[in-house]
Amino acid sequence: MASEDLIAATVPAGSSPWRLAARRLRRNRVALAFLGLFVLIVLFVLAAPLWANNVAHTGPNTTHTLQKITVDGEKRDVVDPTGQPIGPVWLGADGKFFLGADGRLGRDEMVRLMYGGRTSLFIGIVSALITTFFATLLGLLAGYYRGWTDTVIGRAMDVLWAFPVMLLAIALGLVLAVGGLQIGPIHLSGGSIWIPILIIGFVSIPYMARPVRGEVLALREKEFVEAAEAQGAGSLRVMFGELLPNLYSTIIVFFTLNIAGNMLLESALSFLGVGVQPPNSSWGTMIASGYTLITSAPLLTVIPGTMILLSVLAMNVFGDGLRDALDPKSKVRFEAHSGLSAQEGSETIEGVAP
């Protein structure tokens, strides 16, 4: 078609779609800024031990209920007699209780925020990896083999989909938190953070498997699949050698958006008490405990909530930027919105890509 010829004619030779995408992404300042934000957040939580040991001199679970600290020369209760924790001290005590204390137990909120963040991010990212892995695998199998394989996988996905997500996650959370999980030789105790990771990873699978399957079905009809099969490539070769590379962009975008979604799900489950279990903590559990003091110490809810918001927002914006960079059509859409057809738009605008 006209637009494709023009694109081919003006793109410098040897430019793979990846390089083009990278170039487009580089021009998207907003997406890059939010990626930067996410990286900052990761660095922030990775710095937890540094802060805990060198600045706050305390751990995330260490209580300081009956202690006093010196703030700008004045001695103050960490938790006052009415049970009210101290508010953000900022640098008044050389960094101790930077964000104040977290409630009756008098733990350092800043330290908890950093350690809790590690849990939240770890769960979000690893569960997204699990979801992506299985959703891709199942989507590939179902889309490529169709027939029985598709029906079985499809039905299983349907059943999983039919469960109200929260109910399923809560049920699994409750069940596994009590008894732990045994997978072959691996035994996970009820308090392990791998339990929420597995649960969240698992329940998110159908939402990604369906779109992947749809794409595989569409890709399957294209000539390169026929060509590979005609050359004698076996099913595995076709699936992983031909189809999978064409799914990379979809997978990557879904992966980033999945991190966002899973972090929200983890915080919701932890808030309800069926996600991360003590002594571990996450931003979700922090909100759960902060919630009881919402009127007297709203910051205990607002701060972890904001951290969740920023992390999820960062992943969402970056994921969108990725999607725009990998799918040239969406860029064309942006410019040509009145009267210019996609053909004309891409003929003139895409031809300008470099």
Binding site: M1, A2, S3, D5, L6, A9, T10, R27, E335, A336, H337, S338, G339, L340, S341, Q343, E344, E347, T348, I349, G351, V352, A353, P354
Partner: protein, 344 residues
């Protein structure tokens, strides 16, 4: 024929502002269409032929487009026309047919309803029944069998050729004076192509319907056109009557196009001659002749953009943009006695 032209395009320039810079899709195109004639605009992708056609009825107006020049339909200056005037011209005075009939119809509405919609947008005095009747007549007039029944079908229930006929019927619903057909046969099978071209020819003869036919395929042109415009990189590089272009082509690009046509009356070549290279980026047009980088006959003077001039005394309407003298042209265009073909 010194009658007033139906459509007169003068120094049309269309540029688009994009992220990468300004793209000059059309760089100064001028031509006329006489009532009842078929003008073919030929060029490869990116030559600006579609943009030209769409600009005539204002489809390229947008915040990022810069349009200059003049497009006059009779007395009306279309480039300055307001929305209401433009709306009126579209469909009533100029009908347009696009390349892909499958995507050019809205898939969720019936064909008949879409034709009726076109009719009633301009003539809302008649009733629905009247419009319906007219739609049936239109489908019939373009050769769709069983028009009564088929008017209620959805686009995907028509075959490619049928859809294009329906598209043409819809474009002619209000009896326009000019039909613009943008690559009407490109998306169709070869056999169906012939049918559609025959239809266009019939419409032209029977109704005196002036037609602008846009295509990249010279074979299509030979069937139907009265005059031909060859476009390259946003400019006209040669224009003349059908005979002039086919028998006495003056521009190296035209030779290339002709040379790459397969011909049934000659022995089959081992390899179809091609025009080497690729069209220039419209972002960054070279100074001088835009075809220079692909032209085997280029020389120093080509660093200066040739004007679109008539260089043959005997054919004052046959213009081209090439500095070579007519004698040089006639000499160089022959390869093995054939026009076009790659020089050794």
């Amino acid at each position: 024929m010194a009658s007033a032209p139906l459509l007169s395009v003068e120094d049309l320039r269309v540029g688009f502002v994009t992220e990468g810079g300004r793209v000059q899709a059309v760089g100064g195109v001028s031509f006329e269409v006489q009532p009842g004639e078929v003008l073919a605009i030929v060029g490869e992708s990116g030559s600006g032929k579609s943009v030209t056609a769409q600009t005539i009825i204002g489809l390229t107006r947008s915040p990022n487009s810069r349009i200059e020049g003049s497009v006059r339909l009779g007395e009306e200056e279309l480039l300055e026309a307001g929305d209401e005037d433009l709306r009126r011209v579209r469909g009533e005075r100029i009908g347009m047919v696009f390349q892909d009939p499958m995507t050019s119809f809205n898939p969720v509405y019936r064909i008949g309803d879409q034709i009726i919609e076109a009719i009633r947008a301009h003539r809302d005095d008649g009733g629905k029944a009247e419009a319906h009747q007219r739609a049936v007549e239109l489908l019939d007039s373009v050769g769709i069998p069983n028009a009564e029944r088929r008017v209620r079908d959805y686009p995907h229930e028509f075959s490619g050729g049928m859809r294009q006929r329906a598209m043409i019927a819809m474009a002619l619903a209000l009896d326009p004076e000019l039909l613009i057909a943008d690559e009407p046969t490109t998306a169709l099978d070869v056999t169906v192509q012939a049918q559609i071209l025959a239809l266009l020819q019939r419409l032209n003869r029977e109704r005196g319907l002036a037609t602008i036919l846009i295509t990249h395929d010279l074979g299509v042109v030979a069937e139907v056109a009265d005059r031909v415009l060859v476009m390259y990189a946003g400019r006209v590089v040669e224009q003349g009557t059908l005979d002039e272009i086919f028998y006495d082509p003056q521009h190296p690009y035209t030779w290339g196009l002709l040379g790459s046509l397969t011909r049934m009356d000659k022995p089959r070549p081992e390899r179809l001659p091609q025009i080497g290279g690729a069209p220039p980026s419209l972002l960054d047009l070279p100074t001088g002749c835009s075809f220079r980088s692909r032209c085997p006959h280029e020389f120093d003077r080509c660093g200066e953009m040739p004007g679109l001039d008539a260089r043959l005394a005997e054919a004052p309407q046959h213009r081209d943009r090439c500095w070579l003298t007519p004698e040089q042209k006639r000499e160089r265009r022959l390869v093995d006695g054939e026009i076009g073909g790659e020089p050794a």
